[in-house]
């Protein structure tokens, strides 16, 4: 067979054919972006997020194809440079601004989803617990958590609106001036210079209205937190609430408050954050914790929060270790070992040698894909467990997880097109960062959990230790 004879010119022609339709996609999203100011003030915030993310996708598509074409004519290094230049210079400064805001949205979404994940996970545990040990308290907590989550999410949208306003709307021009700590009055001067005073006035008014809604939602979330009996959950909730209110406060420190001349919306939010901090300190005074039922465990033998944390930690550590072991077993296969040996002998990259072997062994390739799919989520599961405080960073379970992740990274080092390697490294880096910070959240809730244990009858304490070695599943 002759590949050159049949496919010469195919790639360049194909990439040329893709340029126009992808340019259309890019133009489409650019037009959509022009509507963002409208969306920001009166539209649905979800549309804004959707539009920006899609626009970013459009940029990346164009850059990739442009890079591909450049590579055909030049070389990969120049292609990468071309793609970069194309995305920054052809699309221009707006793209950079969009990318900045888009990445912010991604972070915001990530924060939001972590919060939702935390709450959903807790709720799932409560739901399961209700089946094994139904009691009214868990039902009440479940409801309160649900409502807290909804209110906080709604209030957090205001923060996103502020971000979009700063970057894209007429407010963006004013607030960029304000970022230089100019007095509020000078904003109006700046506004005149832009000849957009009326638009700014409308935008400020809209933002103030939305700020009031956000304040109401934050207050509702605070009230609901007070109803949650589980100390661990309540502490998590307050941390999130205060952080979010302060985040919003930073963003609207320069926006005047209609009702309180001389003050800003930011001052209002800062006052709220202070109030929540006091509420939190009052509410989080150590209290007798209630026993937590563990899914799959008999209702007659309730667990403590500490026991629950230990079980989850062991479960996650087991998964990470098992993943590393499966990867090692795969790497120990004779075909794989031969590929690595050949790579060393002929001086070619190991991943390429393994790739070639996989192409010639469909069964092995299938096994590789299956294994990759099975383990790809494991690093995320591990970091989530740490992130939501279910595993303390200084616990034996955390050490097992960390060692398991390192094992996964080492075993996946020579895998072709492996997402596992990059993900695991990224998560290990995050983990290292986390270890440098005091684990105050886990320590505080652990203290509460220890009190629970200390206050339980001996018979119950005795039941905790042996069962805590069992898996959640």
């Amino acid at each position: 067979m002759s590949i050159a004879q049949h496919f010469k010119g195919f790639a360049k022609k194909s990439l040329d054919e893709l340029i126009h339709p992808i340019q259309s996609v890019k133009n489409h999203w650019k037009t959509e972006m022009d509507r963002i100011v409208y969306w920001t003030t009166v539209g649905d915030n979800a549309q804004v997020r959707s539009g920006i993310l899609a626009y970013l996708d459009g940029i990346s598509k164009v850059a990739v194809v442009a890079g591909g074409i450049a590579a055909l004519a030049m070389n990969p290094v120049m292609a990468a440079g071309f793609a970069h230049t194309f995305s920054l210079e052809v699309i221009g400064a707006p793209a950079t601004a969009v990318a900045w805001t888009g990445s912010h949205f991604l972070r915001k979404q990530s924060t939001e989803s972590i919060l939702e994940h935390r709450i959903n996970q807790k709720m799932l545990a409560w739901e399961k617990a209700k089946h094994t040990a139904p009691h009214q308290q868990s039902k009440d907590d479940g409801k309160a958590i649900d409502l807290f989550s909804k209110n906080l999410s709604a209030a957090m949208q205001f923060s996103e609106i502020m971000d979009v306003s700063r970057k894209f709307g007429v407010m963006g021009k004013v607030l960029s001036e304000a970022d230089q700590v100019r007095p509020v009055n000078s904003l109006l001067v700046s506004a005149r210079s832009f000849n957009e005073k009326s638009k700014i006035s409308v935008a400020v008014q809209n933002i103030q209205t939305k700020a009031e809604t956000a304040q109401n939602k934050f207050n509702a979330a605070s009230l609901l937190l007070a109803e949650i009996q589980d100390t661990d959950l309540r502490q998590n909730g307050y941390q999130k609430l205060i952080a979010e209110v302060e985040n919003v406060a930073q963003k609207c420190l320069v926006i005047p408050d209609r009702e309180n001349s001389g003050k800003s919306l930011g001052d209002q939010f800062l006052a709220m954050a202070e109030r929540y901090r006091k509420e939190s300190a009052e509410q989080l005074k150590p209290v007798m914790g209630k026993p937590v039922s563990i899914p799959g465990q008999p209702a007659a033998a309730p667990q403590t929060v500490a026991g629950y944390r230990q079980i989850v930690g062991q479960d996650v550590a087991g998964k990470v270790e098992k993943a590393a072991q499966r990867m090692a077993a795969f790497n120990a296969r004779p075909e794989v070992q031969k590929a690595f040996a050949d790579a060393a002998m002929y001086g070619i990259p190991k991943d390429k040698a393994l790739s070639a072997v996989l192409a010639n062994h469909p069964g092995l390739a299938l096994e590789y894909v299956q294994l990759h799919n099975d383990i790809a989520h494991v690093p995320f599961k591990a970091v989530n467990a740490l992130d939501i405080g279910l595993v303390k960073t200084d616990s034996p379970e955390a050490q097992r997880i960390h060692a398991g992740l390192q094992g996964m990274r080492d075993q996946g080092r020579d895998w072709p097109m492996s997402m596992v390697l990059s993900m695991t490294q990224q998560i290990l880096d995050q983990w290292d960062q986390r270890l440098k910070q005091p684990d105050t959240l886990a320590a505080a809730s652990n203290q509460t959990a220890d009190m629970v244990v200390a206050n339980q009858p001996e018979a119950t304490q005795g039941a905790v230790a042996p069962r805590s070695r069992r898996s959640v599943r």
Binding site: F7, H28, V65, G68
Partner: protein
């Protein structure tokens, strides 16, 4: 008009094509020109996968208008045709079965 299933199927085909060319690129039996062409083809599969991945995400977004869908799907239509063209060439080379494993 490409559905989600179509796009996923196309992604699978792109992967199969890329595996073929990756092997060829590193095959010492292939001449330098063929290895170069194989390298070019991998650039194409990489770009096509990026576009299809984007479309896969786009198609799952809420509130897409028919006009938007039509614009978004155009690149996928082009790639579908390109995959068909590549399949014909694989046919001529007598390796279609080897590339797609009979699941195309």
């Amino acid at each position: 008009m490409q559905t989600l299933a179509d796009v996923q199927n196309m992604l699978q085909q792109i992967d199969q094509i890329e595996v073929f060319f990756r092997v060829a690129m590193n095959d010492p039996d292939e001449d330098a020109e063929s290895q170069g062409v194989a390298s070019d083809m991998i650039l194409w599969t990489t770009s096509a996968r990026e576009v299809l991945d984007g479309l896969l995400a786009d198609l799952q977004r809420p509130n897409l208008t028919p006009e938007t869908l039509a614009i978004l799907q155009k690149p996928a239509d082009v790639i579908a045709q390109q995959i068909a063209n590549a399949a014909d060439l694989f046919d001529k080379m007598g390796v279609r079965e080897e590339v797609f494993g009979g699941v195309q």
